[in-house]
């Protein structure tokens, strides 16, 4: 239960960060998630979910309010992808996801190293 609450909190923080212009928020939030638990199989998906939802929810809201089709087509055209609207949408969501996942991986990995170092220190005296 605590895990779900933590993930929900991470999503909300990530979302709030993005909405206030701190689009990179999923990364430090991912780091924080990773630092809380050493199980990568849990923290990395959790970080990825926080990043993905943090970036995707504003996108969905914008789509509902304004319709993102013309914008997605235009961004694709600017990027040189013709009018393949799916590409910038996918790129946006993937980038948010990667920011959260990378942060969580880094947090988990750092926690593991720190734990090992503490164990070593305990053993050595």
């Amino acid at each position: 239960m605590r895990l779900y609450v933590a993930i929900l909190l991470a999503v909300l923080l990530s979302l709030a960060g993005v909405l206030f212009g701190f689009w990179w928020a999923p990364f430090p939030i991912g780091v924080a998630i990773g630092a809380l638990d050493k199980r990568a199989r849990i923290t990395i998906p959790a970080g990825a979910a926080a990043g993905m939802l943090g970036w995707a929810i504003p996108l969905v809201v914008a789509h509902v309010r304004y319709g993102l089709g013309p914008s997605a087509q235009s961004i694709a055209a600017i990027m040189g992808f013709g009018h393949q609207a799916a590409i910038p949408v996918a790129l946006t969501i993937v980038l948010g996801t990667l920011l959260g996942a990378a942060g969580a991986w880094l947090g988990t990995a750092a926690r593991s190293v720190a734990l090992n170092a503490r164990v070593d220190a305990t053993r050595n005296g």
């Binding site: 993005v18 909405l19 206030f20 212009g21 689009w23 990179w24 990364f27 970036w55 995707a56 504003p58 996108l59 914008a62 789509h63 309010r65 304004y66 319709g67 993102l68 013309p70 914008s71 087509q73 235009s74 961004i75 694709a76 055209a77 600017i78 040189g80 992808f81 013709g82 009018h83 910038p88 790129l91 946006t92 980038l95 948010g96 990667l98 920011l99 990378a102 942060g103 991986w105 880094l106 988990t108 990995a109 750092a110 593991s112 190293v113 090992n116």
Partner: protein, 820 residues
């Protein structure tokens, strides 16, 4: 420790290293731009990145505070984005206008000021360094600064520019705050700096450069040296060899300035230098477009079915998305005008007010002169002028380059203007665009003029680019005046590079009362389409056929149509704006058919001839004859001139001077079929019909190769299309190509394949009905996600117009209430 355990102990470290590497990579591409790519996080995040264009595309009614306003201002937006600004003071009018322009066109405005100021490299990198260097050499920034310094403190021009700049800056601040900057800023990774009044003057300078900076004296020097002085003089005369229809037939006053008399020779060094400069300018694409033609005309009340004067205008420019134009009306105690503005400037450039309407075409007279400076190693940094060694003035600039080192450029100025080449021969350029003017102030006066006298008096101060200003008023009067600077040289051949030693300098301009102009002519019509405005009797030098008046086909067609009916209507004006009749075809095709009458033809050639026989000379999408003529009109000059070009190794592409060669060929075909030009080296003795037959036989296989074997299927729409190009050169945001009618010689101008130039704004005014109509291709918004990006395109393609309504009459799609 056993090896296996050591490996296990190392795993967390390896894991951390991997996580660090991946995190660093993701953060790097998120924060840092890569070549050709923006910083991905900044660009694509959904809250402040490019996705904000979706919200920006929504325009709704608002009430908001605008810094600097003195009193409330109301802006009414029609459903197509046409903006009506109603203010209680003139100051507030310009401030609100600046805000509105920036709201819809800020990126365009930023690009245009950067172009003039030589600051494109700062946002696009080293690819623009050469262009920036040239612009700083040419001097737009210097001129804009001088113009600003010369503006009277407290005068209306200065006040308008200051208020306008504040409005632009209000929008920049708002857009920053609300993350609503145009997505191009986000994707290019920069935010616009504050707008200054000088930026508005720079944009006016951009237009001057676009319309009248030419290198034709350099081209003529190259022709003189390669084609030969005899043929160059014969084929590129001062006066047009063909029949034209000047709008000002005289009588003319006696010349009050010295005329060019001396004959000059081009040395190999000068010719080589001319070629080097010509190649540089061609590679930069900074010269006036030879396709930048325009039409305008007016009909007096006596010739109008409505009982009021009629006026029509369609300036032909590069067709871009967003358009060069923004449609708006301005209402304040001092101004009541409606029409189109160039975003970045606080004036209605083409439009009408309560009493008068006006439009403009480029006058095309020579405004660029090249001077070869005489130097001596014994006098370094100096040039000989009026018998004395004079030091160059040097101006220094830095060009910031995105992703590269700042470049430094020193620009040397002689009395003639900036030095633009020092390879082999120092050449400076005298360009009227470098004369500090008060042209924006002139336009403000035009916006307020109430009759011909005030209109003409206002234009007395107009310098450059020289324009044919057409006029019609609510009292039934019409007029046309080619206002601007007409440089006169003391002596020499100004169509060639001239010595810079002083004797050949520009000494002044044609007196204002003597420039081409007419008011209420007896036949009740005035018209211009970039043709030479005056006859051979005009006593002043205004330029040659190649520098660079239009061959006159559009003007001839317009004149012909306007004289066919006793009474004309606004619908006639609209119809003439989309007239696709090729005047040259109407002259040449009958001659061609006669030349082919006894010729042995293939089946396809016979069909082609039959198509031409039944053709009405209209370049319509479904016309196969139009395509056959279009091919012939290219092959015929090629057949005649290419052997000369090859045998004399001419360095100038024939296409660059095709307008003049076309006039020659027209004149010879109709009146001198035995001209020696048809008997080029290597082709033997020929006449015009011989060359026509040869061209016809040679072009047929080419058309079949391009469009298939059946001539009936060669419809013009298959060969000819139009593209509206995105201003930032993003091809994915272009409109088209779309099959379209017209060609480079029809009033509905559509030269080239695909055509990217043409009627950038069409306006028709009927004072009898007090009805005003206009349309431009594109839309009011530069945001490609906005419905106002291309919403006017279909109407424009179909030749339709939309009513230009007053603020009171315009149905409001949205209203902005601006508060101090």
């Amino acid at each position: 420790m056993p090896a296996r355990r050591r490996r296990i102990r190392r795993l967390p470290l390896l894991n951390l290293a991997g996580a660090l590497a991946v995190s660093a990579a993701i953060l790097y591409v998120s924060f840092m731009p890569a070549p050709g790519l923006p910083a991905l996080g900044t660009a694509f995040n959904p809250a402040t990145g490019a996705w904000t264009m979706a919200a920006d595309a929504q325009v709704t009614s608002r009430s908001f505070r605008l810094a600097g306003l003195e009193k409330p201002v109301k802006v009414v937006l029609e459903k197509d984005g046409t903006a009506h600004v109603v203010a209680q003071t003139d100051h507030d009018l310009f401030l609100a206008l600046g805000y509105v322009h920036a709201k819809f066109r800020l990126f365009q405005m930023d690009l245009m000021r950067r172009q003039g100021a030589g600051r494109l490299s700062q946002i696009v990198g080293k690819v623009a360094v050469d262009t920036d260097r040239f612009e700083l050499q040419l001097g737009l920034l210097r001129t804009a600064q001088l113009e600003w310094d010369a503006l009277a403190v407290g005068g209306p021009g200065r006040a308008a520019l200051i208020a306008y700049a504040q409005g632009v800056n209000d929008r920049i601040e708002e857009a920053r705050r609300t993350h609503q900057l145009d997505p191009m800023f986000t994707l290019l990774g920069y935010t616009p700096t504050e707008w200054s009044p000088i930026d508005s003057l720079l944009i006016k300078g951009d237009m001057t450069q676009t319309l009248n900076f030419t290198d034709t004296p350099l081209v003529m020097a190259m022709l003189d040296k390669s084609l030969g002085a005899d043929l160059t003089n014969e084929w590129f005369p001062i006066l047009p060899p063909n029949q034209q229809s000047p709008y000002d037939p005289g009588p003319y006053p006696k010349a009050k300035q010295p005329q060019p008399v001396a004959s000059m020779s081009i040395t190999p060094v000068v010719a080589a230098s001319a070629q080097a400069i010509h190649e540089r300018l061609a590679s930069l694409g900074v010269m006036a477009s030879r396709q930048g033609a325009s039409n305008n005309w007016a009909v007096s009340a006596a010739r109008s079915a409505s009982g009021g004067a009629l006026l029509a205008g369609d300036p032909h420019l590069h067709l871009t998305l967003p358009s060069i134009w923004f449609q708006n009306s301005i209402d304040s105690p001092g101004y009541h005008a409606s029409g189109v503005s160039i975003p970045g400037t606080p004036v209605i450039l083409i439009g009408h007010n309560e009493h008068i309407a006006w439009s403009l075409t480029d006058a095309q007279n020579q405004q660029t002169f090249f001077y070869v400076e005489k130097e001596d190693p014994a006098h370094p940094g100096s040039y000989l002028w009026n018998g004395a060694w004079k030091k160059y003035t040097t101006l220094s600039y830095d060009i910031p380059v995105m992703g590269g080192r700042t470049q430094h450029v020193d620009v040397r100025w002689s009395v003639h203007g900036p030095v633009i080449s020092e390879r082999g021969q120092t050449t400076s350029v005298w360009w009227s665009g470098n004369l500090p003017s008060q042209d924006l102030g002139v336009l403000l006066q035009v916006d307020r003029a109430g009759n011909w006298q005030e209109f003409r008096d206002a234009l007395r101060g107009w310098y450059s680019p020289t324009h044919n200003f057409v006029y019609a008023d609510d009292q039934g009067n019409i007029g046309l005046i080619s206002a601007g600077y007409y440089p006169q040289v003391a002596k020499g051949d100004p169509w060639l590079p001239m010595p810079g030693t002083g004797e050949y300098d520009v000494v002044g301009t044609i007196p204002y009362d003597d420039i081409p102009q007419v008011y209420n002519p007896p036949d009740g019509i005035v018209w211009s389409a970039n043709q030479r405005q005056v006859t051979k009797d005009y006593p002043y030098y205004i330029g040659t056929t190649s520098n660079f008046f239009d061959p006159g086909y559009r003007a001839n067609e317009i004149h012909s149509v306007l004289t066919q009916k006793d009474k004309l209507t606004a619908a006639d004006m609209q119809s003439l704006q989309t007239d696709t009749r090729d005047f040259l075809a109407s002259e040449i095709v009958p001659v061609l058919l006669k030349s082919l009458a006894k010729e042995k033809l293939t089946a396809a050639e016979t069909t082609a001839v039959q198509l031409l026989q039944s053709w009405d000379y209209r370049m319509e999408i479904n016309s196969a004859a139009a395509t056959i003529w279009a091919y012939f009109s290219g092959w015929y000059p090629y057949e005649v001139f290419n052997p000369w070009w090859k045998s004399r190794n001419v360095k100038v592409a024939a296409g660059e001077v095709e307008g003049t060669l076309e006039q020659d060929l027209e004149a010879w075909t109709l009146g001198d079929p035995g001209n020696r030009a048809f008997s080029a080296p290597g082709v033997g003795s020929r006449t015009a019909p011989d060359a026509q037959r040869a061209a016809f036989h040679k072009m047929m296989p080419q058309i079949a190769k391009d469009l298939g074997p059946d001539p009936k299927s060669w419809t013009w729409g298959r060969a000819h299309s139009r593209v509206l190009e995105n201003l930032a050169q993003i091809s994915g945001l272009d409109y088209g190509p779309r099959a379209d009618r017209g060609d480079g010689r029809t009033p509905l101008a559509a030269g080239d394949y695909p055509s990217t130039h043409g009627p950038s704004w069409r306006m028709v005014v009927d004072w009898g009905a007090r009805a005003f109509y206009g349309i431009y291709p594109g839309g009011q918004s530069e945001n490609p996600a906005s419905p106002w990006y291309t919403d006017r395109v279909d109407t424009w393609f179909s030749g339709g117009l939309r009513p230009m309504l007053s603020a009171d009459a315009a149905p409001a799609f949205a209203t902005w209430d601006m508060r101090p």
